[in-house]
Amino acid sequence: MQINGITIDDTFAEAFNMRGTRVIITALNLKWAYHAANAMTGFATSVIGCGVEAGIEREIDSDETPDGRPGVSILMFAMGSKVLMQQLETRMGQCILTCPTAAAFAGIAAGLEVDQISLGRHLRYFGDGYQTSKLMTDPNGITKRYWRIPVMDGEFLTQETTGMVRAIGGGNFLILATSQPAALRAAETAIEAMKKVPNVIMPFPGGVVRSGSKVGSKYPKMFASTNDAFCPTLKGLVNTKLSDEIESVMEIVIDGLTFEDISRSMYVGIQSICALGDKSGVKRISAGNYGGKLGPHHFKLHEIMGNSK
């Protein structure tokens, strides 16, 4: 398949089941909401080393947030509910509780297939007995419990729980270009477009990863190592998947709440790169997989780009 001179490989991205949650962070202004959200989603690029994968989903206007202040929503994903709960509580305590004026609210409402996990339920004990709970009813008539914890800047307000749902992590595509600047420019273009898609995050720095990995290594203790087939400097040494003209490959990894969200995000990202044309230096779009044996979710590039046209 070719779109605007760029080849779309007949391959698929392989993704895994994860558990995901959303938290809405508000503050006195957007600047401090971002400070809190950036801290909360820091060091959360890959579950391999960070426990969770997290990112900022979008900005939220003050008329949309529970407390009427500007905010951002973040999504957080982990391989299991236990890790997700542990990481959420740790990050709430170190990143949101500590951030001036910040407050945290559930981003996923209670419902079928939604588990409630602690947001401020245990954090309240920081109040040392001066914490107070409030049950308040939202405009939809749903009553929720909040905790008010006295802190030095006034009061830290947090909802008691947020929702945890089944989610998918590891949707991806690879950008193969004739130069490093060309690959980076295309990746940035894709990320800008994909940021507008709800329910997904791209957890790596700037949304882009340059060190895609394969399973296993020559070193017995390493369970993942560099994806040599896509390393341009190894073209003459390994069973490469790169043609002569390719000098740089960058990957965009997507975690999302549903299969459709990730598919939509991949389509938007790839389409935005294809709109640049092959003169941009991008020659191929491919995807990372493990032969289809590890992850239950397969995002076939031709189906995504064909169906969505």
Binding site: P66, D67, G68, R69, A103, G129, Y130, T132, S133, K134, L135, M136, T137, D138, P139, G141, Y146, R148, G154, E155, L157
Partner: protein, 224 residues
Amino acid sequence: MSALSFSLKPNHTQQIDCRLLTPNNLADLSVAEIENLNLLNIKNSPKIGDYFEVSGSDASHIVFKNADAQLNYIGHKMTRGQITVEGDCGDFLGHQMRGGTIFCQGNAKDRVGDQMRRGLILVDSNAGDYCGSRMIAGTIGVYGSVGRYVGFAMKRGTILLTKTPQLHATIQDCGTHTLPFLALLFKSFNAFSTLFNDIKSHRIQRYAGDLACNGNGEILVLIQ
């Protein structure tokens, strides 16, 4: 479904105990069944129909019409639903309340929310003495003035006022603050056509108490 309404018949002279007229007690009963119920759990009790004209069917929302200061114990031990008082009410509004909301459009007499544990009571006019007495938790809002001993022996909970009351010695001043949670609290008031909806400020004077009972309750006086 229309709200279950109790319209007080004129010319009554006695105090009326309304503790049985709650969403909990009247769910799934017809108007005729309600009118024939005893008003009190005692021998020779008058019937509800002796004092009220009953209409409507939705027991999750009860409305007292033509209400006056002789209606006591409205919302006693209620755990859910809503009660609207169109007019004044007597003592012990929301006594031992466990949930739901009570909205009184007129004046309430003494001991509003006595021993309440959860829920919301809004009084758009004045409240009498001992407002929020022995309160365990929950929220009381009084738009008008309150009498003496507000928050007497309260353990936790919030009493929201617009005028500084006369406070007793075991209520302590904690200073002026802007509290973010008030935005959520005021949003939750939007379901009612209460005077509190006119308030835009989140700035309050905070008093904590009653120190005779842990002192984890609070009286918030809005600064407008």
